[in-house]
């Protein structure tokens, strides 16, 4: 305890130098915490997004798998369509538990956003859609009155954005069609919140896409059958099967570049922090050469001196670690805001997840940083010969 107090008081001697070194460690630790928090949070949010889709496989018309992934998660334009016959083939497969055909169509409306214009995404669905997502609840209203009605159900955000509720009319300019709002879903926390749902048959009729689908969501009875199921559909020339695990990997590979970049920065930050700590402690050891000599003359052992200097390093890294964690916790939201802007796809929910395990691990990491950086300066101090050191000439 005596040594720890002495180590702490020694660091207090050159306050600014100590604070700057602690700051260097704090930055390195906060970058590490944020990076790891992002890694955990992103995967969790992505899994959550994918779980909320309710299906494990998506059948789409042949095209770019990246586009398919985007389509599934985000919705989007420039869609290619496949024949509804595929639905007939797959629907009666004994391995299939639930199946939901969808027809997605994007319409440009120049009246949106106070005249700035914008895209509205319509999705044609039938009753099976709600079977796949039984947790969907209506904020107001009900399901379509008929599978070919001129009605829409709005996602929570799209209703809020356009200030629509049950009974309101929606006009589709390009097709000169007026539809009635019969329901608004509660917030789901997925991209569905921004969509407008139409009965599948109505969508095919209104958008002149009779007999066409953009995708079919499939939930298998047993996920173990997935490889066989995919293999069987592989021969179908016009379609592709995208499984959720593929989508997950695709999206993760899209963000991995960003993560690699941040990891490199984190490694550089850690390296600089280690150099900074070694430099500071070594400088302080050399400045105290005579003092260390006297300490040894009055009885301090090699181990006493080693421990003293080591403790100084550990104190710096411990305080730096705690400060770094606090910075990460406080700054995480801000970093999340910027990351959302640069990421190709950011799932809903929190992208930064700081759990206790991560924080404890980071703290131990910081202490380990101290243990490693302190070895050389502590060794140099411990091997000083008292007589030479007292002359200041070690």
């Amino acid at each position: 305890m005596k040594l720890a107090i002495l180590a702490y008081k020694n660091l207090n001697r050159k306050k600014i130098r100590t604070i700057l070194t602690i700051f260097g460690v704090a930055i390195a630790v906060s970058v590490m915490v944020i990076l790891s928090g992002f890694s955990i949070g992103y995967k969790k949010a992505l899994n959550n997004d994918i779980d909320k889709m309710g299906y494990q496989v998506l059948i789409t018309a042949k095209g770019c798998p990246y586009e398919a992934a985007t389509l599934m998660l985000k919705g989007g334009g420039g869609l290619v369509y496949m024949s509804q016959d595929i639905y007939g083939k797959v629907a009666y497969d004994p391995r299939v538990d639930k199946i939901a055909p969808q027809l997605m169509y994007t319409v440009y409306d120049d009246q949106l956003q106070n005249g700035k214009g914008g895209f509205i995404i319509y999705v044609g669905v039938d009753n099976s859609y709600i079977d796949l997502k039984p947790w969907y609840k209506f904020q107001v209203g009900n399901w379509f009155s008929d599978d070919n009605a001129d009605e829409v159900i709005m996602g929570y955000e799209s209703a809020e954005l356009e200030q629509r509720t049950v009974g309101d009319k929606i006009f589709i300019p390009k097709f000169n069609k007026v539809l009635t709002v019969v329901g608004v879903f509660e917030r789901t926390g997925t991209q569905d919140d921004g969509l407008i749902f139409i009965p599948l048959k109505s969508a095919q009729r209104i958008f002149n896409l009779s007999g066409k689908l953009s995708s079919i969501g499939v939930k298998l009875k047993d996920i173990k059958n997935l490889p066989d199921f995919e293999k069987d559909l592989y021969d179908e020339a016009s379609i592709q099967v995208v499984s959720m695990s593929q989508v997950k990997n695709t999206v993760i590979s899209l963000v991995s570049t960003t993560r690699t970049l941040i990891s490199s920065i984190a490694l550089v930050a850690i390296f600089i922090a280690v150099i900074g700590v070694v430099d500071t402690i070594l400088m302080s050891v050399f400045e105290r050469t005579q003092e260390i000599g006297v300490m040894k003359a009055i009885g301090a052992t090699k181990f006493d001196v080693f421990r003293l200097v080591w403790m100084e390093t550990i104190i710096i890294c411990l305080i730096g670690g705690i400060a770094g964690i606090i910075i990460a916790l406080l700054g995480g939201n801000m970093v999340e805001y910027f990351i959302r802007k640069v990421l190709p796809y950011a799932p809903n929910g929190k992208l930064m997840v700081f759990n206790l395990q991560l924080l404890m691990l980071s703290l131990f990491g910081a202490i380990a940083l101290g243990l490693i950086s302190g070895v050389y300066p502590a060794f140099r101090a411990s091997v000083m010969k008292p007589i030479k050191a007292m002359r200041g000439g070690e």
């Binding site: 005596k2 040594l3 107090i5 002495l6 008081k9 020694n10 207090n12 001697r13 005579q290 003092e291 006297v294 300490m295 003359a297 009055i298 009885g299 301090a300 052992t301 006493d304 008292p386 007589i387 007292m390």
Partner: protein, 228 residues
Amino acid sequence: MENYVVETENLVKTYKLPGEEVKALRGINFSIKEGDFVSIMGPSGSGKTTLMNLLGCLDSPTSGELSILGKNVIDLKEKDISDLRRKNIGFIFQDFYLIPSISALENVEMAMYFARKGVNRKYAISILERVGLGHRLKHLPNKLSGGELQRVAIARALAISPKLLLADEPTGNLDTKNAQDIFNLLKQVNEEHGITILMVTHNTKLGNQCKRVVYMVDGKIQDGDNLS
């Protein structure tokens, strides 16, 4: 039978420098009885501090015999020498050499800690009170005068209850009055506690007040004061 705290026989210390060899001690035959208060005087470069360092087990002789508290230092391992020093020898330096980041009291306690004699705050306070610093316990070294710093250094040396106290020009950085006060304190320590003191000094007035005076010139004891 008298006990000797220090005994040397033909003690030689040579420093090897590039291109030359400096003989700092040229055969010292010398001893100090338990409870003695010896001053070593002599010109600069005469070997006083070198002798002091050897007697304090901070340095090893090139040749000759050296016995401290009856133990032949030449035969001891480094660890045993450190133990001998840690538990029995107190040091006082011209430049005080206190640890600047901790208070007077903590400096004394640190010495107890390093000597593995157990940190005893009450005893540390009592020593500081004895050297007249009962009112300066919590002061950092930079808040103390030269005389006070040396008093803390003496308290630090006494904290381990040494059998031998080595003082290397303890009054060298003090004014006349403070120098006499510090000397009186050392004398009191010697008389009241029977601690053997060896003091290197340039101050003849103080040196001559010791029980025994030794002169050194050119690495040798000048006055022929051999085994006493």
